[in-house]
């Protein structure tokens, strides 16, 4: 017997300790803890997600705008992968060996047992070839997904695009799982819940390698995927294409609305982009390219460009003046042209003018006097301002129109509080904020809001919230869009202002804007631009009686409203109402089409 014999007890102790530890853990695991029993059923059943096809989008005349194409994802389960011919694999998928290795590494990092997407969105053509060879590659399988496909390049900003869900999306809505698609902008975003359909689920009995071992209870528990609802947009594809063509080589926006319904007929933000660029594997690359483009094609000017409306705002002030009896139909104010004070007049015309003359001639002094009278009618300038503000807001200016456009801006309509902050309470009056009289200063309005304002005048005092979707399959559009919104100004005052707007087109702009046999009413405007040439704007509707279209055109660096915005608007209206451009106006069309306002060297 050796002296260390007693050490056997330490060894016994170590054995006993481990065994005791195991027994305690097993007791907890098998007897005390019940959660593992629930897990057990969970794991034999593997839910296989069934992806529905996304709803289609049509234009108002039933022309298909957006549909689906099938693409395939190649998934990898790293554990199942056995040695394979990587050269063949790379050739089949047109990827480099480095990409393949990086992809496999990433998949391994994610999970050895769970399939992850190795290559996204393989075209059906490539898939057909791949499918034949796939048996050679263990651990790879495919799943089909649908991608968006566009019948034209038109209306990218209105339609929006579909992208992969973000972490925030998943957090917000548990419907989404990583790798799912979601509408990111436009109709795709606003009507996501209708378009996406409902994912289905297939219950399969699978083993750890995702090997199918049969369907669970013969598929009794399966939930089939529900296809997304089709949507009919309010857009008129033909007119949209024409408007986009006019905006070639220009920056700006057109929004046209059917006044009787609030349906948006044309929705252009120029420059635009081919929506097909943001689909599939090329999306990321194209997106960053578009994002870097200095012309900002991704910027939705129709919703997000806000600027002071300039003279095109003058009818609003005239209407308010008439309504609050600050002026009447016969009130006349003198105009001293460039010598006028405090706002000079930039136009040459007779004097004194009544309201119709003033609208026709865009007379600054008249509108200044009107504005001063409005604010002067009340005890304080602030009170008068608040009344004025309420009327302006009723046109939807400075308001969220709660339309179905994603990401629309509210715009700026200054408040009493704001002016108090700048000038101090009681230290400002009509004179201080006089630029509001001619649509400048702190006002910020988006093209959509301006188009809606055109519709209000066309309707002589009401509007329906402008919207981009007309019908949803087996569903109804929001009741908001069927609710008439009244502007608290009498109809007769609108008729007065409309006379001025009609004369403006028929008399002053007869050469380039007047449309034969159609009485269009409009108001031009010039938006001051400190960075370059002024912007050209025009708000209009036609025909004068029973209007079919109200629109707002905004051309960046177009200098005068009458130079680009008004002729372009007249072409769009003529095209919409007569389906063609009359022979004697072809030269105008050509001039507009040829104009390049992006080129700084071009004479404007």
């Amino acid at each position: 017997m050796d002296i260390y014999s007693k050490r056997r007890f330490v060894v016994y102790g170590v054995f006993a300790f481990v065994v005791l530890l195991f027994l305690i853990i097993l007791f907890r695991l098998q007897i005390l803890n019940s959660t593992y029993k629930q897990y057990a059923t969970n794991n034999v059943l593997r839910e296989i997600t069934q992806y529905p096809a996304r709803g289609l989008i049509y234009d108002r005349n039933g022309k298909l705008l957006v549909y689906n194409k099938t693409a395939y994802d190649l998934l990898i389960t790293p554990r199942e992968v056995t040695a394979f011919d990587t050269t063949l694999f790379c050739n089949l998928l047109n990827i480099s060996k480095e990409d393949l290795e990086a992809g496999i590494k990433k998949a391994k990092k994610y999970s050895y047992y769970k399939p992850s997407i190795l290559i996204k969105q393989i075209s059906p053509e490539r898939f057909a070839v791949l499918k034949e060879q796939l048996y050679k590659f263990n651990g790879f399988h495919t799943q089909s997904r649908t991608l968006r496909e566009y019948s034209t390049t038109a209306a990218a900003h209105a339609l929006g695009y579909v992208g992969e869900v973000s972490g925030a999306d998943i957090k917000r809505d548990s419907y989404y799982k990583p790798g799912d698609y979601i509408g990111v902008s436009g109709i795709e975003k606003t009507y996501e819940t209708q378009l996406r359909g409902t994912k289905g689920v297939k219950m399969n009995l699978v083993d750890v390698h995702n090997r199918l071992k049969g369907s669970y209870r013969n598929g009794e528990e399966d939930v089939p995927a529900k296809i997304g609802k089709n949507i009919v947009s309010t857009l008129d594809l033909k007119l949209q294409l024409y408007a986009e063509k006019l905006f070639r080589n220009k920056r700006g926006s057109v929004v046209a609305i059917e006044p009787a319904t609030g349906e948006v007929l044309v929705f252009v933000s120029a420059p635009t982009y081919d929506p097909g660029l943001l689909v599939g594997r090329v999306r990321g690359h194209n997106y960053s390219k578009l994002l870097a483009d200095t012309l900002m094609p991704l910027f939705n000017r129709a919703l997000q460009a806000k600027y002071p409306p300039g003279s095109s705002f003058k009818p609003v002030n005239a209407l308010i003046g008439l309504q609050v009896n600050a002026i009447d139909r016969n009130t006349r104010f003198a105009c001293y042209g460039k010598a006028s004070s405090p706002i000079r007049c930039t136009h040459n015309h007779g004097s004194p003018n009544d309201v119709v003359d003033a609208i026709r001639e865009s007379c600054n002094p008249f509108l200044w006097n009107t504005f001063k009278s409005i604010l002067g009618k009340y005890k304080t300038s602030a009170e008068g301002f608040n009344v004025w503000r309420k009327y302006v807001a009723s046109f939807g200016i400075g308001q969220h129109l709660s339309s179905d456009f994603a990401n629309g801006l509210k715009g700026d309509l200054p408040t009493e509080k704001q002016y108090n902050k700048i000038y101090g309470r009681g230290h400002w009056n009509a004179l201080t904020v006089r630029s509001l009289a001619i649509g400048q200063g702190e006002l910020g309005v988006t093209p959509l809001q301006m188009a809606n304002y055109g519709a209000v005048i066309a309707n002589r005092g009401f509007y329906y919230t402008p919207h981009i979707v007309k019908e949803i399959e087996n569903d109804t559009i929001s009741r908001e869009f069927k609710t008439k919104r009244e502007v608290p100004i009498e109809k007769k005052h609108f008729e007065t202002v409309i006379i001025g707007m009609s004369q403006s087109v028929q008399r002053n702009l007869a050469a380039t804007v007047k449309i034969p046999e159609i009485e269009m009413c409009g108001k031009t405007g010039t938006v001051q631009n400190n960075q370059g040439a002024d912007h050209s704007v025009f708000v209009a509707f036609a025909p004068r009686e029973n209007p079919k279209i109200a629109l707002f055109v905004y051309v960046e660096n177009g200098v005068w409203g009458s130079r680009y915005a008004a002729p372009m608007a007249s072409l769009i209206v003529e095209k919409y109402l007569t389906d063609s451009i009359s022979e004697r106006r072809k030269w105008i069309e050509k001039k507009m089409l040829d104009a390049n306002l992006l080129d700084p060297n071009q004479k404007k």
């Binding site: 002296i3 060894v11 065994v19 057990a40 794991n43 391994k108 050895y112 750890v208």
Partner: protein, 473 residues
């Protein structure tokens, strides 16, 4: 006195019976693990349970042959066996078959042979032979070097084969060495290293450094209660840390706080070490040295973890330590295995009624994760019986080893016990989520010819040695 022809009477039949029980239960569970309605015949040799039956037959033959060979054979040929298997270990690196990233198998047709499995008994034999040699003193540096060479040469080659699990088995020999007189300090440091390894990955470094410093200060205080000396030590550490902190601040460097504290503790330890060395305060130098070593060790663990381990290996260790959770990723084996075992409850789902194992949810369920099947189908009852049988076998082996007259047999017996113990601990520990997933089989239970035969060889040599325990003096 019993003689050689009384071999059968001298065999410890309790151990043999335990062996049979484990092998039989293993086979039943392999059948359950791969049970499939299409191949119901338990003798179907295209299936794993059929093959295992063949291998059990072969194992019994091997056992019988071993019992018939003279004990002196193992003593005399131990070095030759060791050398031959070492040669195979090296050879397999060149002509072996790559399975799951490990090159440790010879493939002969459909039949696989893993030399590292058999290396265990060869190492045990040589260790027993060397340590039982005349005039052997364990604390002689030359002896320690030789023992290290015997144990770590195979470890080196097994590591090269990328078969970490099998390599780690050899560390269990430390228990044998302990029994044979190796200082308990080695066990202490072994344990310390293991604990530090886990803490280095689990605890933020700053906290770890502070805790280590606090423990060291406590030790300083306990070994020498003279307040003046303790104050000096405390001062050395605090001033070192503060000085570095100020230096960092004044020189506008932006080193992290953990790094400053670490450098401070290292600097303090060096100062305490030098001063106490000169003043011959041995306890203090020792503590300072251990603290220094511990910090350097944690640093190297962090470094090795981040630089040497593959991401999936990191993930596995992280999963074990509960740092990251991805139930379908790295923690998949363990979670599935826990689910399988946990769903068994007290008495199990019944034989062949397991659902988790039937659908192959537990990976490697007939090899490394065979214990899951036991847990699922036999419940806590089954798992405790299996664990009980193993404990019984292990205790029995130690008891047998202690009754040997020759130190060769005793050392060999201990080696058998600790090797089985290591496999048992790591394998079951892994299935219940207590140990990292390093694939080593459960002795006698897991599917596979190589492992079954190697364990049979390992055990039966000892049974044979024990049977002739009266022959040698």
């Amino acid at each position: 006195m019993p003689k050689r022809n009384n071999l059968w009477a001298n065999i410890d039949w309790v151990t043999v019976l335990l062996f049979f029980a484990l092998v039989f239960m293993g086979w039943l569970n392999i059948y359950a693990a791969v049970y499939n309605e299409h191949y119901q015949s338990i003798f179907d040799t295209t299936q794993r349970y059929g093959k295992q039956l063949i291998w059990i037959g072969a194992a019994l033959t091997i056992g019988l042959i071993i019992l018939l060979i003279d004990t002196n054979f193992y003593v005399f040929f131990s070095y030759i066996i060791y050398g031959f298997l070492l040669f195979l270990l090296i050879l397999v690196l060149f002509i072996g078959k790559d399975i799951n990233g490990a090159r440790s198998w010879f493939a002969i047709g459909s039949f696989g042979f893993q030399p590292s499995e058999f290396m265990k008994f060869a190492t045990a034999l040589v260790l027993a032979r060397y340590m039982s040699s005349y005039g052997f003193k364990i604390h002689n540096p030359k002896s320690l070097a030789t023992i290290a060479a015997i144990i770590f040469t195979p470890v080196l080659f097994i590591f090269l084969q990328n078969d970490t699990g099998s390599a780690l088995v050899y560390f269990s020999f430390v228990l044998v060495l302990y029994r044979e007189g190796l200082s308990g300090v080695v066990l202490f440091f072994g344990t310390l290293v293991a604990i530090l390894f886990v803490l280095a990955l689990l605890v933020p470094n700053l906290v770890l450094y502070i805790v280590l410093l606090a423990i060291a200060l406590l030790a300083f205080f306990i070994v020498n209660t003279k307040l003046i000396q303790f104050t000096r030590v405390l001062g050395a550490y605090l001033i070192s840390i503060l000085a570095l902190f100020l230096l960092n601040f004044l020189m506008k460097k932006e080193y992290p706080l953990a790094g400053i504290v670490m450098a401070g503790v290292l600097l303090g330890s060096v100062i305490v070490l030098l001063v106490s060395w000169r003043n011959r305060i041995k306890n203090y130098s020792l503590i300072a040295l251990v603290l220094l070593g511990s910090i350097l060790f944690t640093l190297s663990v962090d470094y090795a973890f981040n630089n040497f381990l593959e991401s999936h290996q990191q993930a596995r260790i992280n999963e074990l330590l509960g740092i990251e959770s991805d139930p379908l990723g790295a923690g998949y084996n363990v979670n599935q295995s826990k689910i399988a075992i946990g769903s068994g409850g007290a008495f199990g789902k019944g034989y062949l009624k397991g659902t988790q194992t039937k659908f192959d949810f537990v990976p490697e369920q007939s090899t490394d994760f065979i214990f899951c099947t036991v847990g699922e189908e036999w419940g806590f009852l089954g798992t405790s019986v299996v664990i009980g049988l193993f404990l019984f076998l292990l205790m029995r082996l130690i008891w047998l080893a202690e009754r040997q007259r020759s130190s060769f047999s005793r050392i060999y017996g201990y080696s058998v016990a600790v090797i089985l113990f290591f496999h048992f601990t790591v394998n079951i520990g892994m299935t219940i989520g207590l140990m990292p997933v390093i694939g080593i089989p459960l002795p006698f239970f897991s599917y596979g010819g190589s492992s079954l035969w190697s364990f049979t060889t390992l055990l039966f040599i000892f049974i044979r040695l024990d049977a002739s325990r009266f022959d040698q003096l």
